[in-house]
């Protein structure tokens, strides 16, 4: 069974929600990425979203865009990212990392250049469970969805506040794994306040699909978690972690890993409290 499907089935049984941290592959370097994945899982993350650095990420705010550029300037290549993940999976024969799903956030520019079949094959071999392709709308995604399905990969699609309802239904129908609800109309990055209609929109979406729904973009605090957990199956935190990767310029790698781990542990414990209450 695909690890994403298994995770949500398990959490549903337990009446719990997933915590999905996002990190950039190769920022500050790939050994740190591997250490971070292990640390995040130890700190209570249920799934890791791995950003494949891209030179022109138009959906991303300054924090993630800068992180992508740092990773690329360091010479991070796709082949090394897959190798790192593959090694990490191979080294882990027991413990939580064997069941934790890894999904990549990856531009279609990268998939296309690699060749769809080759990219998917390499992703599966590395131990990736699903893909989020933020610049591949539902109209263009049929081929990839079909191929991914054949290889037991999930193609997670996004619904946003600007998505008309009939379109949201169409997206939900072509999505596998879980549905990614984008909290705000805009780019990635921390927000103090989230739109008031957010919970209501997700609650509506819930009536249209049996897929788990995870909310991302702008989420960074326990307060956000308390507001959104009741309507979500999972919460995605990206920029709040990624901005801490920039600290690698002044801190040691171990300190950065520990710092991000502590931050995620705090969110995990907030989520546990919400789940328990």
């Amino acid at each position: 069974m695909n690890r994403i499907d298994a995770l949500f089935a398990r959490l549903k049984n337990e009446g719990r929600r997933a915590l999905l941290p996002f990190i950039t592959a190769g920022d500050p370097d790939l050994p740190t990425t591997a250490a971070l994945i292990t640390e995040l899982v130890a700190c209570g993350a249920h799934m890791i979203e791995i950003g494949i650095p891209y030179s022109d990420p138009i959906a991303d705010g300054p924090v993630i865009a800068a992180s992508y550029h740092r990773a690329l300037e360091r010479g991070t290549r796709l082949v090394h990212i897959f190798q790192t993940i593959r090694t990490l999976r191979a080294e882990t024969s027991s413990g939580p990392l064997t069941v934790v799903p890894l999904v990549t956030m990856v531009s279609y520019a990268i998939i296309h250049r690699r060749g769809m079949d080759r990219f998917l094959r390499e992703a599966v071999t590395a131990g990736i469970d699903g893909l989020i392709v933020p610049d591949l709308p539902v109209e263009e995604s049929e081929g990839l969805a079909h191929q991914a399905m054949a290889m037991d990969l999930r193609l997670i699609q996004l619904v946003t506040p600007t998505t008309p309802r009939d379109r949201a239904i169409r997206i939900a129908q072509s999505t596998t794994g879980f549905l990614y609800y984008v909290s705000v109309a805009g780019i990635t990055g921390e927000r103090k306040a989230l739109p008031p209609e957010l919970a209501e929109n997700v609650a509506w979406l819930r009536t249209q699909t049996v897929l788990p729904i995870c909310i991302g973009f702008g989420i960074s605090t326990s307060e956000h978690f308390r507001t959104l957990a009741p309507v979500a199956d999972g919460l995605i935190v990206g920029s709040a972690l990624v901005k801490r990767l920039a600290d690698a310029e002044k801190l040691t790698r171990a300190q950065v890993v520990q710092d991000i781990g502590r931050f995620v542990a705090k969110l995990a414990s907030a989520l546990n409290d919400i789940d328990a209450s």
């Binding site: 138009i58 991303d60 296309h112 690699r114 709308p137 539902v138 263009e140 998505t163 705000v184």
Partner: protein
């Protein structure tokens, strides 16, 4: 002569409903932008069919821009090249000094029609930024222009003028700090602002419907050229040459001739310092089909799909992608695309200044350089039209810097 009335007169069936020109084009953008793009496509179709909208645009093109632009016989340049008669389609004489105003006016009118209160744009050389700022001043809309720091350095005059026209110029400090990064930033702005903001893209690039809309608004260049040739020579020109960065002036002058196989169409790309990666911006000659800025088209990228660095002496051609319709024309064999180096463009810039008393922009200097090569091949008695897409005032500082002459 009607200045607008787009598709029927150009014989265009493309793009299809998904915005495809053959295999190229489409919409490779975040879901957040999809509804705004659909709404724009629908509103554009309504505007296109609305005689009042077209009459209004025609009126501004005639009385504000100064259209039709002349078709001028460059006699001394013709003698210099030795061969076909070289005619210049004088887009440099338009208000704001380039073809960019044709599209900016059309799109800002469309923005107004859609009830948008704010307009954003990206700019490379600054000509599209100035044109957009101008149109926004004319109609009283708020205007923000994204421009790479490197381009701001190269094009100070246009930056100053945009500000004078009331626009906010936002320096872009990410990546290569040129047009490509300015486009990223404009798209990021639009991700969060599309409800009240129209994104006036400056070239035939980006997701559908942008390549179609910009082509249609620029097609006035080709329609006029066609009518002027028929009137003067009682036949079509033998060859039409335009420079290609994103490709808007080229798409504008080519598209009304695409259905006429007797008219040879040649695009001049920025060959920069040479064919090695990073030294040029010749996406069609050196690139491969891939995805950039929401469209599937020829692009300069590495084996991982990362967009490559580009170089051109001209800020307006300094772009690693190209409009999807050009990719379609290239693969269909309808348009031939050639590379012109920085040095060749500079020579043509100089030659045009000395022999015609016209200072061309560095972008069309690439087309002029190509014309100097094609004219002898075509031979006497043939008619060659060059799209002189903009005037060279903006480039004086950069050319002086390259020559080591103080201004």
């Amino acid at each position: 002569m009607s200045l607008t009335s787009p598709s029927e007169s150009t014989g265009h069936q493309l793009p299809d409903a998904l915005g495809r020109f053959g295999a190229f084009g489409g919409r490779f953008v975040p879901e957040t932008l999809m509804d705004a793009l659909s709404q724009m496509a629908e509103e554009y179709e309504r505007a296109k069919a609305d005689p009042e909208f077209q009459a209004r645009l025609d009126d501004y093109l005639k009385n504000y821009v100064g259209r039709p632009s002349p078709l001028f016989l460059a006699e001394r340049l013709t003698r210099l090249a030795g061969g076909a008669a070289i005619y210049l389609k004088r887009e440099d004489l338009n208000h704001t000094g380039a073809h960019k105003i044709n599209n900016a006016l059309g799109q800002v009118l469309l923005a107004q029609r859609m009830g948008k209160i704010r307009v954003i744009a990206e700019t490379g050389a600054g000509q599209h930024g100035v044109a957009t700022a101008t149109a926004c001043a004319l109609f009283g809309l708020e205007c923000t222009v994204y421009m790479g720091e490197e381009d701001i350095r190269r094009q100070k005059l246009n930056v100053f003028n945009m500000k004078t026209l009331g626009a906010t110029v936002v320096p872009v400090t990410t990546g290569s700090r040129t047009l490509r990064d300015a486009t990223n930033e404009a798209m990021r702005d639009w991700m969060g602002s599309s409800r009240q903001t129209h994104y006036t893209i400056g070239s035939v690039v980006g997701p559908h419907p942008f390549p179609m809309i910009v082509r249609d608004f620029q097609a006035v260049i080709g329609r006029e050229t066609r009518a002027q040739c028929l009137e003067r020579f009682a036949r079509l020109p033998d060859c039409v040459i335009a420079c290609v960065g994103g490709g808007s002036n080229a798409a504008g002058i080519f598209s009304p001739f695409v259905q006429d196989p007797e008219v040879e169409l040649v695009g001049a790309e920025a060959g920069g310092r040479g064919p090695q990666a990073g030294a040029h911006a010749a996406s069609l000659s050196q690139g491969r089909p891939g995805v950039l800025h929401g469209s599937f088209s020829y692009v300069l990228q590495d084996e991982d799909g990362q967009t490559q660095g580009v170089h051109s002496i001209s800020a307006g051609l300094d772009y690693p992608g190209v409009g999807p319709e050009h990719s379609y024309w290239k693969d269909a064999g309808r348009v031939r695309y050639e590379s012109i180096t920085d040095a060749e463009a500079l020579d043509a810039y100089q030659a045009t200044a000395r022999s015609e008393g016209i200072l061309p922009a560095l972008e069309p200097s690439h087309a002029l350089a190509q014309a100097l090569k094609e004219a002898p091949r075509l031979g006497e008695g043939k008619v060659l039209v060059v799209c002189l897409s903009g005037r060279g005032d903006k480039d004086a500082y950069e050319v002086a810097r390259l020559r080591g002459e103080p201004i």
